[in-house]
């Protein structure tokens, strides 16, 4: 797999490159600001871009804007955004441009190597990865029909919103896939959502429900 990294801290850029290398992922370019990211993606045509939100010159949301620009030029291009803080607003903006092949994670998640590679692979494969913290932010704000969900169903909903597949949810919760499916259909029914088979469409449905 070939990736482009956009991260302004040299230390982290090097670390990230080495970390990816350990997992057999080649970094074809490592850049330090938004325009360079857009150019690097155009030039190298990588499989994925890993982007930090905060970059020069404004040190606010440069990375996010560059990511959106890349996605506007090449719809569906896989991007994994890393952020010092997770904000549901950023997540919503990112997903607003199409929920497939998008990831939004707290920066420190890269310290959990296995999970990070899982996220990289899921995003590169067209999936959606949302940081559990964002999901918590979203879930904590919406209360209404969620009170009708059981504790188990709530847990499934949170994992679903993070972009996990049925298999991953069943492994995480140590229950059978059949049980997961049963929970999910019950959740969709209680929240009056259309059951969507596709993974990222499912995330979209959940986030759309949580986000308004």
């Amino acid at each position: 797999m070939r990736v482009v990294i956009a991260e302004d801290s040299v230390l982290l850029r090097e670390g990230l490159t080495r970390l990816l290398e350990d997992g057999g992922v080649t970094t074809v370019a490592a850049v330090g600001d938004g325009p360079a990211l857009v150019a690097a993606v155009e030039e190298h045509r990588p499989d994925l871009a890993v982007v930090d939100v905060r970059m020069p010159p404004s040190h606010t949301d440069e990375g996010l804007r560059a990511a959106l620009e890349v996605r506007a030029r090449r719809p569906g291009f896989p991007i994994l955004v890393l952020s010092q803080y997770v904000e549901e607003r950023y997540a919503t903006e990112l997903i607003g441009g199409g929920a497939s092949a998008v990831g939004y994670l707290l920066k420190e998640r890269i310290a959990d190597v296995a999970e990070f590679f899982d996220a990289v692979r899921r995003v590169a494969g067209g999936g959606t990865v949302i940081d559990p913290d964002v999901v918590v932010q979203l879930l904590s704000r919406r209360r209404l029909p969620r009170e009708r969900l059981t504790a188990r169903e709530n847990e499934v909903l949170a994992l679903m919103a993070e972009g996990r597949s049925n298999g991953a949810i069943s492994a995480r919760m140590v229950i059978s896939e059949g049980a997961v499916e049963k929970h999910i259909s019950s959740i969709f029914q209680k929240l009056e959502l259309d059951p969507a088979p596709d993974d990222h469409r499912r995330v979209l449905a959940v986030l759309a429900f949580l986000g308004h």
Binding site: R54, D61, Y85, R89, E108, A111, V136, Q137, R143
Partner: protein, 431 residues
């Protein structure tokens, strides 16, 4: 979420800000009308009352009973002036805070001295006495204007009803053709008159400001005192904040990183001899680092939330609300972003209020509302908790009030025992 703001009628009429339609559609014009017509009656009453009460009181001063009478009269005219202030505010939109000096302690002579020495007492008297002649002029002008313009406008109806409407010597208006220009003249006069009404309103407002208002020097001195005090408290608050940050860094992240370094050092030493222990130490160091990162992140967010700079109050407050333990409804109804200092103070007022609520109020839900009123940003945080919150010096609420005061803002806490609690801040946004 910025709601679409629907402009009032007066903002949507053609011919611009000072155009005739704007003046006609502006409620300020019509609010002035009743006062301009009626002030003569009020003025007459004041005039007669004062012209009777003052000489009588003065005449009786030799037999002592006059002085209490005069004091009562003074209280009465100050009361009348207070009524006038409210009338003037409603009619002309002129804000006139009561200008009186603070009331002294007990004692008849104290009160006499207070009444006599306060220039506001005498300015009130001046206004009340002037109101009669001024009101008379306003009344005559208003009546003339309304009767002539309406008379001209309804001309055609009179022609239809009577066949003749106006005759001045040889000049007669008795057909529709002749009546129409007269009506147009009447309409033109009406619009001109509306400008005259605004002019009169402005003049009367200026007079009221002069005689019923606080004089500029007193206002400025009071404001300077307030700002000086709040600046001092603001500096203290900033110092306290730095001390708190230092403590948090020292007790939190620094200790954690130290523990990590220790684990790593031990792991290094045991790498060959006891690889299993070394692995556990590495795992512990890994966990410790992540905890330190999380702590530093929370600390940094507490110092200044990045999202506030990036996306403004709405996003920052939503994020804050999401992290609160109870449901918090956030509505931000401002279209333009206020200056950074105002945004930051508004944010921290909400943050502190929500923290307090979580700690003490036992509330189950809260509401955050941010709106703009004229040149102020109004922040309200309400919860349904136990209430009883008070701003103790050095406490969180007092610190917020100090912070608000550094930009001349005002923070009020309404929290009766038993609840609910409402924290409200008004922050000037032309800061």
């Amino acid at each position: 979420m910025t709601a679409e703001v629907r402009l009032p009628l007066r903002e949507r009429v053609p011919f611009g800000r000072w155009g005739p339609l704007r003046v006609a559609a502006d409620p300020a014009t019509w609010r002035a009308v009743p006062y301009l017509l009626g002030s003569m009656v009020l003025g007459g009453c004041y005039f007669v009352g004062l012209a009777f009460a003052i000489p009588v009181s003065v005449a009786f001063i030799v037999v002592w009973v006059g002085l209490p009478l005069l004091v009562v009269t003074m209280f009465l005219w100050r009361g009348a002036a207070m009524v006038e202030r409210r009338l003037v505010r409603w009619s002309f939109g002129v804000e006139l805070p009561d200008p009186y000096r603070p009331r002294p302690g007990r004692g008849f002579w104290n009160h006499v001295g207070w009444l006599f020495r306060d220039p506001a007492t005498w300015k009130d008297l001046g206004y009340l006495l002037l109101l009669f002649p001024v009101g008379l002029v306003e009344f005559v002008a208003s009546v003339l204007f309304w009767s002539v313009s309406i008379g001209l406008i309804v001309g055609p109806i009179a022609v239809v009803l009577d066949g003749e409407w106006l005759s001045v010597g040889d000049f007669r208006v008795d057909t529709m053709i002749e009546a129409v220009p007269v009506t147009i003249l009447g309409i033109a006069l009406l619009f001109t008159g509306l400008y005259a009404i605004r002019g009169l309103a402005w003049l009367h407002g200026a007079l009221a400001r002069l005689l019923l208002g606080t004089d500029e020097t007193t206002l400025l001195a009071a404001r300077a005192d307030r700002l000086r005090a709040s600046r001092a408290r603001g500096v203290d608050a900033a110092e306290n904040e730095r001390r708190r940050i230092e403590r948090d860094l020292h007790d939190g992240a620094q200790q954690r990183l130290l523990a990590v370094a220790l684990d790593l050092g031990r792991a290094q030493a045991k790498m060959d001899a006891e690889p299993e222990v070394a692995r556990q130490l590495l795992a512990s160091a890994h966990a410790g680092t992540k905890a330190a990162i999380a702590e530093l992140r929370d600390l940094a967010r507490g110092i200044y939330p990045a999202i506030l700079t990036d996306r403004g109050l709405d996003a920052a407050l939503s994020s804050l609300a999401a992290r609160a333990p109870v449901r918090v409804d956030v509505s931000v109804e401002i279209t333009d972003r206020p200056p950074p200092a105002v945004e930051s103070i508004a944010y921290f007022i909400v943050a502190e209020s929500l923290t307090n609520m979580a700690k003490h109020a036992a509330a189950t839900e809260a509401r955050v509302h941010v709106s703009r009123q004229d040149l102020r940003v109004v922040v309200e945080v309400a919860d349904n908790g136990l209430g009883g919150a008070v701003a103790v010096a050095g406490g969180g609420l007092a610190g917020l009030a100090d912070r608000a005061a550094t930009i001349d803002g005002i923070l009020t806490v309404d929290s009766p025992p038993g609840g609910p609690t409402l924290v409200r801040a008004e922050l000037p946004c032309t800061w």
